[in-house]
């Protein structure tokens, strides 16, 4: 094109296409540059364009998804049960680990009836997590990284990385959590990127804990664990473990 800058009105004509990724070359660059300069009119127009696009996309003939699809989608997040038929040795060990965890919690909570209800909820939730972990370990392409081996005191354990399913951390020798604190897992996508929150977890009362970050992993440089206030944090404060995973 001739390089003449487009006006806001001219840009308005192509914002739907821009938002569809259907704009090419200089036209697209112009929209990019213009929006990057923070033009408020065009920001508002872009939102209108996105709404037009969404309405068009929502206007298609509604089809009925297959019955099993919800279950399938949720299985990816460890929420729905996905079968027990293939218990491997590691899965069995993991189940023992979790059984120990549950019995400790049971002893702690036995006293109060009201607590019993929340315990049931807890167990259900943990069984889901167990399924999720099994699902993970069952994938042949899951990569395993061991950390802290041979060291008596610092945390040690395994990290399982699956590019489709996410990251599963199983750690023992974790330090005792102060009251009102929790462990928080972090993922560090690349050497120079800052840690991203990857979920809160507690140990089983004996220094062993597990956490799963579901989802696809584009890149992973290291996994870290820190101790944070109960609600979690956006940046790690008290880091107790950094495990490089070697560019998965």
């Amino acid at each position: 094109m001739n390089g003449r800058p487009m006006s806001c009105e001219e840009l308005r004509e192509v914002l739907e296409l821009y938002a569809l990724g259907a704009l090419e070359g200089e036209e697209r660059d112009q929209v990019d540059d213009h929006l990057a300069r923070g033009c408020e009119t065009c920001q508002r127009n872009l939102r209108d364009a996105l709404a037009v696009n969404a309405l068009v996309m929502a206007s298609v003939k509604q089809a009925t998804p297959p019955v099993g699809l919800k279950r399938r989608v949720l299985a990816g997040f460890g929420i729905e049960r996905s079968g027990w038929g293939w218990l491997g040795a590691f899965a069995a060990a993991l189940m023992l680990l979790l059984a120990g965890w549950l019995s400790v919690q049971e002893r702690h909570r036995q006293s109060e009836l009201a607590e019993a209800r929340s315990q049931v909820i807890q167990i259900t939730a943990e069984r889901d997590r167990l399924n999720q972990a099994f699902n993970f370990l069952n994938q042949p392409e899951t990569k395993q990284v061991t950390f802290g081996a041979g060291k008596p005191q610092p945390p040690k354990g395994n990290i399982f990385i699956n590019s489709r399913l996410g990251v599963l951390l199983i750690a023992s020798n974790l330090p005792m959590l102060p009251t009102g604190k929790t462990f928080e897992m972090w993922i560090i996508p690349s050497k120079n990127s800052s840690p991203r929150p990857a979920g809160l977890f507690k140990d089983n009362g004996q220094g062993t804990g597990m956490n799963i970050l579901p989802g696809t992993m584009d890149s992973l440089y290291a996994v870290a664990v820190s101790i944070e206030p109960e609600a979690g944090a956006q940046t790690p404060s008290d880091v107790i473990l950094v495990a490089p995973v070697g560019g998965a």
């Binding site: 004509e13 192509v14 739907e16 296409l17 821009y18 938002a19 569809l20 990724g21 259907a22 704009l23 090419e24 872009l46 939102r47 209108d48 996105l50 709404a51 037009v52 696009n53 969404a54 309405l55 068009v56 996309m57 929502a58 206007s59 298609v60 003939k61 509604q62 089809a63 009925t64 998804p65 297959p66 699809l69 919800k70 399938r72 989608v73 949720l74 990816g76 997040f77 460890g78 929420i79 999720q132 489709r164 991203r196 929150p197 990857a198 979920g199 970050l213 579901p214 989802g215 696809t216 979690g232």
Partner: protein
């Protein structure tokens, strides 16, 4: 009808609560499936892509940092892009534009949506607007939204000059826009 607002769901997504996915599927699963099916015309492929859509939503949700963000439009965009990406990979079109799709589904784009942007009334008006399009205008809209063609690709597909295709696209979009904003002559 739903116990949660989009804002609640977005907050739980950011807090990495996997159980939010169930509520999210209940709300948007059918729309996502319908849209993807409309593009790929294959139930099995559509199922795979719905699964991919929700995983991607989960993975990207952390950038969804506005409580007033519009989850629905964002999820539909992610779903549409998965389907378009699949089409491109199967019909041998270049897949270099995958990064382009990545860029345009950045959740930040969907922040600060007005609640009034996605109402049944606007959906009805949009359907009425479609009736007003000429066959050529309707065709280019289809190609842009449901086949993911650029204007150059449309010109090649329709064997028309690029300028003609651009005019069809712009006029068609203007009809949709005017009808939605109530400026259309009845």
């Amino acid at each position: 009808m739903f116990p949660y607002t989009d804002g609640d769901l977005a907050r739980r997504l950011r807090a990495r609560d996997p159980h939010v996915m169930s509520a999210l599927y209940d709300r948007y699963g059918r729309a996502a499936y319908s849209l993807i099916y409309r593009v790929v015309r294959d139930a099995g492929v559509a199922e795979d892509l719905v699964q991919e859509t929700f995983l991607r939503v989960w993975n990207r949700a952390q950038s969804f940092d506005q409580d007033r963000g519009a989850l629905g439009p964002w999820i539909l965009t992610v779903a549409r892009n998965r389907a378009i990406d699949h089409l491109r990979s199967t019909d041998g079109r270049m897949s270099a534009s995958s990064t382009e799709l990545d860029r345009i589904e950045n959740p930040r784009l969907f922040a600060n949506f007005e609640d009034s942007a996605m109402t049944l009334d606007r959906a009805r008006r949009l359907r009425e607007a479609f009736v007003k399009l000429t066959p050529a205008q309707r065709e280019v809209i289809e190609l842009a939204y449901f086949e993911g063609l650029s204007q150059t690709e449309m010109a090649a597909r329709l064997k028309q000059p690029l300028g003609t295709v651009k005019t069809w696209v712009r006029t068609a979009l203007k009809v949709l826009r005017d009808q939605l904003s109530g400026q259309a002559v009845a």
